[in-house]
């Protein structure tokens, strides 16, 4: 029985505005790749019910900013059905959506709102940072028995290239990946910020600082051990994420590290996220709102006593 299907706005012939689903409807047909009306709450709710009754739906929410329209379906329905029913029903669905600023899209098409779902028990939240991780994590998401929200960096669609094996593989949730090994400072980075952190690490290397880059890959479940172990090794940590810094995932990860590695730290854990403002349109203003290679480099140097 073929149970996996995907629906959302312009997912079929259009392949989404980002063209990431191009060819899907030609290969799998309109029974499994369904265009919906512009009704995020409605089709997300339909996915919840479909998941409970035998399908494995994937819903496509074009811009991460639009998850606000799906909140009741995800937070009060999908996340709670299994628990409220005492385990009687389950909701194996995936919501794919996007994050990321600097695309000149204005305040309602540029946010990174993954912290909202990370706050809710019953949901899992995935944030791939490479093409390889995206494939392995998406397969795991589709096969998971729970509602999973999968955030894709929309800048990455065109900017980042990387090897993706054609053969079958999956990447388990709750397993962080050390993207670069180092000894002087740990840069914990998510999604779009992994490339920023790797760029900063290159700059740091030129000044003699060895930076380790750790990508948690899933916000929940969270691989606390790998984060804490890296912090214990390097003794300095910056947590970098494109969501709003205030009450964001950087705060949670920083707290996990502060509690787990307190006696090994040489400085307070530093957070770097998006500024606490609506994302502005004007390019120089927008660029100032999110961490960059340069800003991470400078903060890291200060933490390491170089500036």
């Amino acid at each position: 029985m073929i149970r996996v299907c995907i629906f959302g706005e312009d997912v079929a012939e259009a392949g989404t505005p980002f063209k990431v689903l191009s060819g899907l409807v030609e290969e799998f047909g309109t029974e499994r790749v369904l265009d919906t009306p512009i009704s995020e709450a409605g089709f997300t709710g339909i996915a919840v019910g479909a998941a409970m009754t035998g399908l494995r739906p994937i819903v496509d929410i074009m811009f991460g900013d639009f998850i606000t329209l799906t909140m009741d379906q995800m937070v009060n329905q999908a996340a709670k059905v299994h628990y409220m029913s005492g385990g009687a029903w389950k909701v194996p669905m995936v919501m794919r959506t996007t994050l990321g600023a600097t695309r000149r899209s204005g305040a309602q098409h540029s946010q990174s709102l993954h912290a909202w779902f990370s706050h809710v028990p019953g949901l899992k939240v995935v944030m791939p940072s490479t093409p390889y991780d995206a494939k392995g994590l998406l397969k795991t998401a589709i096969r998971d028995e729970n509602p999973v929200v999968f955030f894709e960096d929309k800048m990455m669609y065109t900017k980042l290239k990387g090897p993706v094996p054609t053969e079958e593989y999956t990447i388990p949730f709750g397993v962080a990946d050390v993207k670069r090994v180092g000894r002087d400072i740990t840069l914990v980075a998510t999604s779009s910020m992994v490339q920023v952190a790797l760029g900063a690490a290159d700059l740091l290397e030129q000044t003699g600082v060895s930076a380790e880059v750790v990508d948690p890959r899933t916000m929940w479940p969270l691989d606390e051990k790998t984060l804490i172990d890296s912090a214990k090794k390097t003794s300095r940590v910056i947590v970098i994420d494109e969501g709003y810094e205030r009450y964001g995932v950087t705060a949670e990860i920083a707290a996990v590290i502060a509690e787990g590695a307190f006696y090994n730290l040489d400085s307070p854990v530093k957070r770097m996220g998006a500024m606490h403002i609506p994302i502005p349109f004007s390019p120089p203003l927008e660029d100032a709102t999110v961490p960059t290679e340069k800003s991470v480099f400078e903060v890291a140097r200060r933490l390491c006593g170089q500036a």
């Binding site: 009306p37 339909i46 019910g49 739906p57 029913s85 005492g86």
Partner: protein, 332 residues
């Protein structure tokens, strides 16, 4: 305990035995709810409950037109739907008291009873919260080639929620086997529906191309006949429909809503209870048809009373879940 039995897909004319079973099911719902009120007033029940008394003919008439493997979604006022779909009173009372033996191991409570064995996808405490779920179940039924249908129960208060119109639009476009059953009990909490609802209710659904009908929700025969037609239609693949059942909530919005005169008169309540009672309307018809006499109704009343008391005793005596279970079932 009464259990649901599979009915034939063809819902033309019910037999005498079927009418008697529906009468008994309505009595079960009423006496269940009276016990709930009793548990609440005796402070044996945590939280609140929303009673279905007065609306019994809707749940029974619709659910008797369904098969056990058809799906329903329900509301915060959902005890009647659960019972009519085949749930057992003992495990329902246990759930209301937060006991381990409840349908949701005590984790759901009055507003969240769910039961896969009877196709009950769950009661929902968000008004219109389950309209997507019911529509999604209909999508599964269609995609997986089952000839199941889904019934989405909600009251007129849900007409204010936009998501209802989003999913009706999709259900119509995709021709899904779903029946939206709007129980218009006249009051959206403490406000008459005419203060919150503009225009014509069935016309809202008709605008999306749904088959839209309205029926006397106190007349179980009318509800059953109409629901049966709409269920058959959905099962045949002819698409979604919308059924307004005009009914009345005898008691308050919840068990604690005792003084109601600021929003409705005692005369109005009395009128519905004496002139429009669904149990009495069916009993009178059964007598007129020579199907039953008054002694049989007394017998049913007495049997169901005994059954409900036993069910309450079971629930009161049942154990609470162990605190160690608090983190179980968050993830499957």
């Amino acid at each position: 305990m009464t259990t649901a039995t599979d009915k034939s897909a063809a819902n033309s004319e019910a037999t005498a035995g079927q009418w008697m079973r529906m009468y008994r099911q309505m009595v079960s719902i009423r006496l269940f709810e009276e016990q709930v009120n009793e548990l609440y007033t005796r402070a044996l029940m945590p939280g609140l409950a929303h009673l279905y008394i007065g609306e019994e003919a809707v749940a029974v008439g619709v659910c008797d037109a369904l098969r056990t493997d058809d799906y329903i979604t329900s509301t915060h006022r959902g005890h009647g739907h659960c019972l009519a779909k085949g749930a057992s009173p003992d495990r329902m009372f246990a759930e209301l008291l937060g006991k381990e033996a409840g349908y949701c191991k005590g984790k759901g409570g009055s507003m969240h009873i769910a039961d896969p064995a009877t196709g009950n996808l769950g009661a929902n405490a968000i008004v219109a919260g389950s309209v997507g779920i019911a529509t999604g179940a209909a999508l599964s039924a269609k995609r997986l080639g089952k000839d199941r249908v889904a019934v989405c129960f909600f009251a007129e208060g849900a007409l204010g929620q936009g998501v209802l119109y989003e999913v009706m639009n999709v259900a119509s476009l995709w021709k899904l086997p779903v029946i939206y059953v709007c129980e218009n009990n006249l009051y959206t909490e403490y406000t008459h529906f005419t203060e919150t609802t503009a225009g014509d209710i069935p016309a809202r659904a008709a605008a999306f191309g749904l088959q839209a009908e309205a029926v006397d929700g106190q007349d179980v025969r009318a509800v059953y006949e109409t629901a049966g037609r709409l269920v058959d239609r959905a099962r045949r693949g002819d698409g979604p429909s919308f059924l307004v059942c005009n009914t009345y909530r005898y008691t308050g919005h919840h068990v604690g809503d005792i003084n109601r005169e600021y929003y409705r008169s005692k005369e109005e309540e009395k009128h519905w209870k004496t002139e429009r009672d669904p149990l009495k309307l069916l009993a009178d018809w059964l007598v007129a048809q020579g199907i039953a006499d008054s002694s049989q109704f007394k017998g049913i009343q007495s049997e169901v009373e005994t059954e409900m008391k036993k069910a309450v005793q079971f629930a009161v005596a049942a154990s609470y879940p162990s605190v160690s279970e608090v983190e179980q079932d968050v993830y499957a």
